[in-house]
Assembly symmetry: C2
Homo-oligomer: 206 residues x 2
């Protein structure tokens, strides 16, 4: 299988961590997308993902899977090893919820701030900016950091006592926050300690 | 188990359809949330869901599950019957992707238009509106309707040949579109035929 992505970008990072957690990085051929020159908006890429986002997984039968949660669902079901999406109804539901919160409260909020209220990827790519909306999303992201600090005060991982996709999403959100120059306040000690612990995992530090 | 919701609202509808598909409506005690009077923003409700959204599932052990995808994951795993999230890696991934597209391209876009660029739920609840962003989301929703018409030209259901959570999300998106007075253009014949077929399902028509 192939993954079309941009190394070191936050969403591609999510899928690469998921693969590494499953020891499956070598099962995939990575194909670089020249996103900074707009390749993701050309017809050939839009045929793979009409929403123009990376990463996209291409299965050996030619099926294209976009969206990080969908690609991670594929990886989690197809490969043995640690469970990323959870086992059993309650665990799967809690992980799904916390993953979604990590997206909406941090990663997606930071992304919208970056693309709408900063120079983002530059004027060629950042068309139709809405700075007011972007700034509101920055406020939302900062509130999200406080929320997850509280969660991590009482829990080893984002969705309970086991590592999951929810940790991957929040970690990528903090990477993006750093890139967008949103600083984690030093008083959010639980969040910062968790981030340090995540950075040391083999799937991330390697 | 209990579900805190508002009957006939689009997101609560998603979970009620999922329960009906599993013949599990009678397993749940529904608790009405007085959203129009702001009950969802009071401390007691925020303790159930800090994002103040409905529906919220409360398990018998006191765990609260918010987010429609998470609640549906619980329902799908806990109850027998038709699979809503898919079986096998590829099917689960395609359904996850198409569900997410139905959210981002239609349901969430319509919701943002409704809450930001129309009177929405009224001035008491619609604080910090951004009409420019809302209008852009209406354009996005209209493009989403065209996308799903094309999908349904080649496929019986949103994520392939089987009914899934992706159909539920898109159906709720069209319900919300109607409420927000976004009309489905008559030339989108595949989408309209699918909507008519969905409306006749026992889980929806009952």
């Amino acid at each position: 299988m192939k993954i079309y992505d941009v190394e070191n970008f936050p969403n591609p990072l999510r899928v690469r961590i998921a693969l590494a957690e499953k020891n499956a990085i070598d099962k995939v051929e990575f194909v670089a997308v020249d996103l900074l020159n707009g390749e993701h908006r050309e017809e050939a890429f839009l045929a793979k993902n009409p929403l123009a986002g990376v990463p996209v997984l291409e299965l050996d039968d030619g099926t294209f899977i976009a969206e990080c949660t969908a690609i991670t669902e594929y990886i989690d079901t197809a490969f043995d090893g640690i469970s990323l999406m959870g086992v059993g109804a309650k665990s799967r539901a809690v992980i799904n919820m916390m993953q979604k919160r990590a997206e909406s409260m941090v990663l997606d909020a930071v992304a919208t701030y970056f693309h709408h209220a900063t120079a983002g990827l530059g004027p060629e790519l950042e068309t139709n900016q809405n700075a007011t909306w972007g700034q509101a999303q920055k406020d939302k992201a900062n509130a999200g950091l406080i929320y997850f600090n509280e969660v991590l005060a009482g829990s080893e991982f984002v969705a309970g006592n086991e590592f999951s996709i929810a940790d991957i999403t929040l970690f990528a959100g903090l990477v993006f926050a750093g890139f967008a120059q949103i600083t984690i306040p030093s008083q959010l000690t639980h969040l910062l300690a968790w981030q340090e612990k995540m950075a040391k995992r083999d799937s991330i530090s390697a």
